[in-house]
Amino acid sequence: MEHFELKVNGQNVRVEASGEMPLLWVLRDKLNLCGTKYGCGVGVCGSCVVLVGEFAARACMVPLKQVAGKSVLTIEGLSKTGDHPLQRAWMELDVPQCGYCQAGQIMAAAALLRRKPNPTDADIDAAMSDVICRCGTYDRIRSAIKLAAQGAPGSEEEVPA
């Protein structure tokens, strides 16, 4: 079987799998990192958003071979203790309902804050509209992103990628 090396949440990992396997299933079924969710598998829901390097990527659309040698950050690696400003803001404003989409929401927001530490409503619409919340928590997500932006810079407490 083929094998690939990549960095996930700061750790080097070696994965034996077909290079065509989407990163989503590598994370979930090979590495048992289940924080990254399966919502559609065809790139339209955003439940699977992770960071590849600095950028948000839909893990269901990224084949393993494309991330060989790269750094992947998932929700599990966003902070050591759950104290990333976004995570704190999410808890503070009680954003989650069912919670299923929220890892994708937070990772998409993390990518946004790296580019725009003080996003406007328009920035939030543009960056976050790829991530569906079937429970309709958008208005609280919007507030939580702003709260996180005020509270602290986005990258300080992340595990180095």
């Binding site: 079987m1 799998a17 077909s18 396997m21 989407p22 299933w25 979930r28 079924d29 090979k30 048992n32 990192l33 289940c34 924080g35 969710k37 399966y38 919502g39 559609c40 598998g41 065809v42 339209v44 829901c45 439940s47 998932t74 929700i75 599990e76 966003l78 902070s79 759950g82 995570q87 999410w90 808890m91 009680d94 954003v95 989650p96 309902q97 069912c98 919670g99 299923y100 989409c101 929220q102 890892a103 937070i106 939030i124 619409d125 543009a126 976050m128 509209s129 790829d130 991530v131 569906i132 919340c133 079937r134 429970c135 309709g136 928590t137 958008y138 208005d139 609280r140 997500i141 919007r142």
Partner: protein, 683 residues
């Protein structure tokens, strides 16, 4: 064998014998429950009533509260636990919530009909209060004082200078009889109920540790995918699995009840194998059915109107489409059948009814079935049906090893139990003063398999003289089921849109017109407050309109006022103001979440969502074509809760029905055009 269920029984036995902790079953008087209790080891010595929920005071003073009702995003794990904790008198920070393994001893475990809080409020209060009384009695005996001289709060019992933590009293309390009618707290003294409380699972959710159905890794399981017929009456008559079996990680391919099953080491392998199956489908009798043919059949079923009294006649017809539930987490289920036991991890809304079904399907005794309920990525009524669990059991029986059945998004969209499509004809007559004196409603639903279409159509919230509604259905092959707010997802829109038309016909302001005819004081108050908060009547920018809608059921009231603008790209919802009266709010923040989410549901239905039938099957396959609101669509939403001491109402559905009507009414205000078919397609 399930380690968890064994250990729970052991904990109980140890507690009863050695008194290491107080374990209390809250039992509901239920005459027929004794026989059933006998089949469960731990209930044998118990009196003749059925446990409903559990709480445990641990030696370290933590309190475990078991929540029996699944959390599909409506917040039961938080609100149910708050109710027990309130009466117990515990420090909320010391509460750990545990999800119940399915067991009849809990009584009804299902979540539907916005019934969780309403159905569990009294029994959960009694469970907490009974435990509190036992702890207080133990303390009183120890100190040689009257129980009435003691009180329990924040996890300690106090009397004068005496003070003991619950855990220190647990052994003594466990020896006391469970009071049948404990004294409940005066709601005015509540310290947990009514306090804005964050979801107990928030930290796990935001760190990715929360375990949803698809995240179950308790056993190492193969993954299974099923290729089902596209047509609802279809059957796969032949299949060729040569290419599928060549896929790396595919273990087996076989045909079972609902389709062709591919077993893989990973989800990817199972999905890839499925892609490479070559199948021939015999579509069966429904192969030509389309949305248009169903619509025609519904239209044809409408009867001519009988004679109406003199006055101004207003008539309109409304059409609503089929809808999928489309929960964020697709259907899935993990099953392991071995050594005469069946262990299931099921994201289900009905763990208790699944129990019997599963035992029959797995061919094991009911007490050999263990159903674990993980966190659930949305329900909306979809998971009231356990088809996915039945499939997983069938597969697990065949495979022998643990299996996780994974539905793809495509499966989930195309093999749902859909909210029925419906057609409505309405006719009203206004007298010279503009008062409706005659209201007739005919409704036809597509699909009669469940009572999921319009209902309580005569339960209009207005005093409109003579009111009658009658309905029927046309048969379709489309499987139908309950969808968040069920019948109100039809009539909530139709009634509030038509009432708006009557206001226009009467030449009256929509809010004033409603207030002139609504009798229920709680609904009137919600409407008055909403109008005030939304600055009803104030001037809006050009192109923007404002619409209102009222809704009452489930013991709760909700009013929406929506502002919307017509833009080049379509309708933009700018602002929503809602008022809600749900009686005592267990968790005010949770109440607001349900209004927020319910409104997004209602607005998505108004502008986006539609399931289309072609060739006897569903056209849409994902959120790409079964569209839902996204961040860019979502309005700013202000929610105002009306304080009340009435008993708690249901909250899961009350936010949905009025939202599309308020939006349609806003579009009328902006454009002068009535849009009566959902989703709204601008002319």
């Amino acid at each position: 064998m399930s380690l968890e269920s064994v250990s729970r029984r052991d904990v109980l036995r140890v507690a009863a014998v050695a008194g290491t902790g107080l374990v209390l079953g809250c039992r509901l008087a239920s005459p027929d429950s004794h026989a059933r209790n006998l089949s469960h080891g731990e209930a044998q010595d118990g009196p003749v009533f059925e446990p409903n929920a559990w709480l445990k005071v641990l030696p370290n003073d933590d309190v475990v509260i078991v929540v029996a009702r699944p959390d599909i995003g409506q917040g039961t794990r938080t609100s149910m636990a708050m109710i027990v904790a309130e009466e117990l008198g515990v420090d909320w920070r010391k509460v750990k919530v545990e999800q119940a393994v399915a067991d009849r001893k809990y009584g009804p475990m299902g979540v539907g009909g916005s019934a969780s809080v309403r159905g569990s409020y009294a029994p959960l209060r009694r469970a907490g209060a009974a435990a509190r009384e036992m702890l207080v009695a133990a303390a009183a005996a120890k100190w040689g004082v009257e129980a009435s001289a003691c009180r329990a709060e924040n996890g300690v019992v106090l009397s004068g200078d005496n003070k003991l933590a619950f855990a220190a009293l647990a052994a003594d309390a466990a020896k006391l009889p469970v009071p049948a009618n404990p004294t409940l707290k005066d709601p005015a003294a509540f310290t947990i109920i009514g306090k804005r409380t964050s979801r107990v699972d928030n930290r796990d959710v935001v760190t990715g540790r929360a375990v949803f159905g698809l995240d179950v890794r308790a056993v190492k399981a193969f993954r299974a995918a099923i290729l089902r017929p596209r047509c609802f009456t279809g059957r796969i008559s032949e299949f060729d699995d040569t290419e599928a079996r060549k896929v790396e990680g595919v273990r087996d391919v076989f045909q079972l009840g609902t389709g062709v099953v591919v077993i893989g080491d990973t989800t990817h392998a199972a999905f890839e194998g499925r892609k490479r199956l070559k199948t021939t489908e015999n579509p069966g009798p429904a192969g030509k059915v389309t949305s248009a043919s169903i619509r025609e059949a519904m239209r044809a079923a409408i009867q001519p109107w009988p004679e109406a009294p003199e006055g101004k006649v207003v008539e309109a017809t409304f059409e609503l489409p089929f809808l999928a539930h489309a929960p964020m987490e697709p259907q899935n289920c993990t099953v392991w059948i071995h050594d005469g036991v069946c262990e299931i991890w099921a994201p289900t809304q009905v763990p208790d009814s699944l129990l019997g079904q599963a035992a029959r399907a797995a061919e094991v005794a009911p007490d050999k079935v263990t159903i674990h309920v993980p966190l659930i990525g949305g329900g909306f009524g979809r998971r009231l049906v356990s088809d996915f669990a039945m499939e997983a059991i069938e597969i697990a029986k065949r495979v022998g090893d643990p299996v996780q059945l994974v539905w793809s998004r495509d499966d989930d969209t195309r093999h749902d139990y859909y909210r029925p499509a419906s057609h409505h004809a309405l006719r009203a007559v206004l007298d010279a003063s503009g008062k409706p004196i005659h209201w007739r409603h005919q409704y036809i639903q597509a699909g009669g398999r469940t009572n999921a279409g319009p209902y309580r159509a005569e339960s209009l919230d207005y005093g409109f003289g003579s009111v009658e509604a009658r309905g029927g259905s046309v048969a379709t092959p489309v499987p139908t089921g309950a969808w968040r707010s069920v019948g109100h997802s039809h009539t909530g829109f139709v009634y509030e849109a038509f009432v708006d038309e009557l206001a226009t016909a009467a030449g009256q302001d929509p809010v004033a017109f409603r207030l002139a005819h609504i009798e229920d004081p709680r609904l009137r108050k919600a409407l008055e407050l909403c109008a005030e908060k939304a600055n009803w009547g104030s001037k809006l920018p050009n192109g923007r309109g404002r619409g209102v809608a009222c809704f009452a059921d489930y013991g709760s009231y909700c009013v929406h006022i929506v502002e919307a603008t017509m833009t080049k790209g379509g309708v933009k919802v700018n602002r929503v103001v809602s008022t809600v009266d749900c009686g005592i709010a267990i968790n005010p923040g949770g109440v607001e979440q349900q209004i927020l989410g319910g409104t997004v549901d209602g607005l998505s239905c108004a502008l986006r969502a539609e399931i289309t039938i072609e060739n006897g099957g569903v056209v849409e396959s994902s959120y790409r074509d079964f569209e839902w609101f996204r961040m860019k669509d979502a309005p700013r939403h202000e929610i105002h809760r009306i304080e009340s001491r009435e008993s708690p109402g249901g909250m899961g559905e009350v936010g949905v029905p009025g939202a599309p009507a308020a939006l349609a009414n806003a579009i009328f205000a902006a454009t002068g055009t009535r849009y009566r078919n959902l989703p709204i397609r601008l002319a």
